[in-house]
């Protein structure tokens, strides 16, 4: 036990035994001396051993897959570290000496050396006759090289082509399908529920693809004038992507007691932008700066929902050109 402790001490705090070995002539101490603290040494030793035991439990727990594994592994590793920390702090505070030394800060400035460096720079350049011209040319070389070297970064994406931001997967006649690919039938769309729809045979992971579909009382629809006929039987479809920050709208607020509660609204769970499905997707509350783009609907002869064209405006979050054009297939 004692030997072990001694070895540990020799490892952690070298040269802090009872006395340095006698050498001639005896040197002045650098580190202040102190009386040994047997209790602190014992405490540190026990903590080191405890840490070792806790750490050794880790491979056992791992090998025998002891349940609950993650928790026990964390406990073993965490305790090993905490005990090790405690041991080291006991060593720092109780075993080795805590001297308080005072020493001068580095001087605020080294004036002679500063002067020398400035002089060095001046004298190195004083044999050049057309200094400004040379420096300008050198600057031009470095700057141009810089421009050349960052040019490949333009390959990362289509920096100037804004067409992709207006392209969607919808076109007149395309069927609306649900998550499993089954066409949405007008007769199956109920009030007070929302449906997520996708374009048939098209990429669902495009921002312009997903729709949110609800059925409203046709008498309560207040769509803008040019959108007459966009909502057959009161069924309206909007882009499911919020015009504020691009999240999917997945909350539908419907009044249970219509006279006292607010009217139906589509709500985005990210920042609670709230849109009015009866009034062309206009913003009722929250940070969105544009209405939800509406998709014109039609019902075909077999009662299935189809797109009547493309959205009323660009899909997704706003950007500088978002109001410039209508989306295209």
């Amino acid at each position: 036990m004692r030997r072990l402790r001694d070895w540990l001490l020799a490892l952690v705090v070298p040269r802090l035994g009872k006395r340095p070995p006698r050498r001639s002539p005896p040197r002045r101490r650098i580190v202040e001396g102190r009386e040994p603290n047997e209790r602190a040494e014992l405490a540190a030793t026990l903590l080191f051993l405890g840490s070792a035991a806790s750490a050794l439990a880790f491979p056992f727990l791992y090998a025998f897959d002891v349940h609950p594994l993650t928790q026990l592994l964390g406990l073993s590793l965490g305790l090993a570290c905490v005990l090790l920390a405690a041991a080291l702090i006991v060593v720092g505070r109780g075993v080795v000496v805590t001297e308080e030394l005072a020493e001068p800060y580095p001087p605020p400035a080294h004036e002679p050396e500063q002067e020398d460096i400035a002089q060095l720079a001046e004298e190195s350049g004083d044999s050049i006759s057309r200094k400004r011209f040379l420096v300008l040319a050198g600057g031009a070389a470095v700057g141009s090289l810089g421009i050349a070297l960052v040019t490949p970064a333009a390959s990362l994406g289509p920096v100037l082509d804004m067409d992709p931001f207006f392209r969607t997967t919808w076109r007149r006649g395309r069927r609306l399908v649900d998550e499993r690919g089954t066409p949405l039938r007008a007769g199956a769309i109920e009030e007070k529920v929302f449906y997520t729809a996708y374009p048939e045979h098209a990429d669902r992971e495009e921002i312009g693809s997903p729709l949110i579909v609800v059925r409203l009382d046709p008498a309560e629809l207040k769509l803008p004038g040019e959108r007459q006929g966009w909502a057959p039987q009161g069924i309206v479809a909007y882009s499911k992507i919020c015009t504020h920050a691009g999240c999917a709208i997945s909350l539908y607020r419907v009044p249970t007691f219509a006279p006292v509660e607010p009217k139906p609204a589509l709500v985005c769970p990210c920042h609670y932008s709230t849109f009015d499905p009866a009034a062309g997707g206009s913003v009722l509350f929250g940070p969105a700066g544009r209405p939800l783009p509406q998709l014109p609907l039609m019902i075909d002869a077999s009662g299935e929902l189809r797109a009547g064209g493309n959205y009323s405006g660009a899909v997704g979050p706003s950007w500088w050109g978002v109001r410039n054009r209508k989306p295209t297939p």
Binding site: L69, G74, G78, L88, E205, A248, P287, G316
Partner: protein, 464 residues
């Protein structure tokens, strides 16, 4: 320790020292470095906590890269052991995170420890920043150190965001949609910038995942590591600041030398940080991605919250009234710009400009090794407290939806209240903090005067 063992140990040390010095000629430097003094105060340890969290982040992060697959180009169907996800389509990226968590032994421990370490890393940086700010430690000659620290904080925020975005779970996808919208909202160039970074309109090309991955595991860690080295070098070159007690002065630094007093304490702190993070990683669940499910553009969930250090940005985005600034058909300022770009820009601009602003306001161009107590500089403390209050109120606004769910207070009225409070409370904080500082100063002055009077009174008159 006596006799031979001691002599042997000494001989080994001497041999080692000779070996190092003969090859590096560094004995004079090492002799000084080992006696480098550290002034002692609990608040000086916050930076060390950040440093040690970073060490653990790198270590656990390397382990995670051995299992994570950063590809989103294809969709695979899950057939693993976690029943609720069976049969679902997901990207290899998400699947590898689920497998790492549920199938790889010790994988979940390391992943959760990594996530906790990120949260603690940024918390420690922010507390460290507050300490530096309120004690005036950013003043000359340590202004450069302060700028490096702030730059590291911005990189740490981005690094954390990219890190939890990589998992491609539902929350990560929602976060990326918001990040994309914020990038798009930058006036004049937003869409071009987003097209450059994402390669295509959201959710972007699969190459975007490679870009995030290399940024998270290489570019940002290298940047942070390099700045960290420069930060520590600058600290050491100019030595630490200290509070005025007895022997401390602008010319003399007082503290515990690295060997033998300080090194065991600091190593102790390191293992304490590691220990707490492993305990959190093992015992306290964080970001259970298998519960969130894979991300799809059409999916989202209510009650989504980011990691704490982005809470102020979600609050700022939610507080803005709904409008885009337009000129004809041209959209000048899309809405997310205010909360997602301008708010962080203003906060970091104030922090970056503060040393210069304070020099202008106080005309103090001096050299400072001694720290202020917050009360010693009432206006700095007041402004700092006001800024902190502003950010904190915005942060609270980000939790209005949870308050609505928990306490039933209408979300809309909360947002309206916050839209007012966000301007009133910082002003109130400014006034109160200034007043408190001045009162504390006066209290000290009164105490000092009283002592003086007592000392001056002749000894005879004191005893009746």
């Amino acid at each position: 320790m006596v006799g031979r063992a001691q002599q042997e140990a000494d001989a080994v040390i001497r041999k080692l020292v000779r070996l190092v010095d003969e090859r590096t000629a560094s004995a004079p430097f090492l002799k000084k470095a080992l006696r480098y003094v550290f002034p002692d105060h609990w608040s000086f340890l916050l930076g060390e906590v950040a440093l040690y969290s970073f060490v653990l982040l790198v270590a656990t992060g390397i382990y995670l890269t051995l299992f994570f697959d950063p590809s989103v180009a294809t969709q695979v169907v899950y057939h693993g052991s976690y029943e609720p996800l069976r049969g679902q389509e997901m990207t290899p990226a998400y699947k590898s995170v689920v497998d790492l968590s549920l199938h790889v032994k010790a994988g979940l421990l390391i992943r959760q420890t990594h996530h906790w370490a990120a949260d603690v890393f940024i918390a420690a940086i922010v507390l460290h920043l507050l300490r530096i700010f309120f004690t005036g430690a950013f003043r000359k000659p340590r202004d450069l150190t302060y700028y490096l620290g702030l730059t590291m904080l911005t990189f740490a925020l981005l690094e954390g965001y990219v890190g939890y975005s990589l998992a491609d779970d539902l929350l990560s996808g929602m976060g990326l949609a918001i990040g994309y919208s914020v990038a798009m909202s930058i006036p004049f160039v937003g869409a071009n910038l987003a097209a450059l970074v994402w390669g295509a309109p959201f959710p972007g090309t699969p190459a975007f995942w490679s870009r995030m991955y290399i940024a998270h595991v290489f570019i940002f860690p290298i940047l942070i590591g390099t700045l960290l080295a420069a930060h520590l070098l600058l600290v050491a070159l100019r030595h630490h600041t200290q509070f005025k007690r007895e022997r401390e002065s602008e010319r003399t630094v007082v503290g515990i030398p690295m060997i033998p007093g300080y090194a065991p304490r600091s190593l102790g702190l390191m293992f304490a940080v590691f220990g707490v993070l492993f305990l959190l990683g093992g015992l306290v669940q964080i970001n259970p991605v298998w519960l969130w499910g894979p991300y799809h553009v059409a999916a989202s969930t209510n009650g989504a919250q980011p990691d704490w250090y982005l809470g102020w940005l979600i609050g700022a985005l939610r507080l803005m009234p709904g409008f885009d600034v337009t000129v004809g058909d041209y959209t000048l300022v899309p809405n997310p710009f205010w909360g997602g770009v301008l708010v962080p820009l203003v906060v970091f601009a104030i922090l970056f400009l503060w040393p210069w602003l304070e020099r202008k306001a106080t005309n103090d161009h001096g050299f400072h090794n001694l720290l202020d107590r917050p009360r010693d500089a009432p206006w700095r403390t007041a402004f700092g407290f006001a800024l902190l209050t502003w950010v904190f109120v915005v942060f609270l606004a980000g939790s209005a939806d949870r308050v609505y769910v928990t306490f039933g207070i209408s979300y809309e009225s909360q947002i309206w209240a916050y839209r007012v409070l966000v301007w009133i409370l910082p002003l109130l904080a400014l006034v109160v903090a200034h007043r408190v500082c001045v009162e504390l100063q006066r209290g000290e002055e009164v105490k000092r005067l009283r002592c003086e009077v007592l000392a001056k009174r002749p000894a005879a008159s004191r005893s009746p």
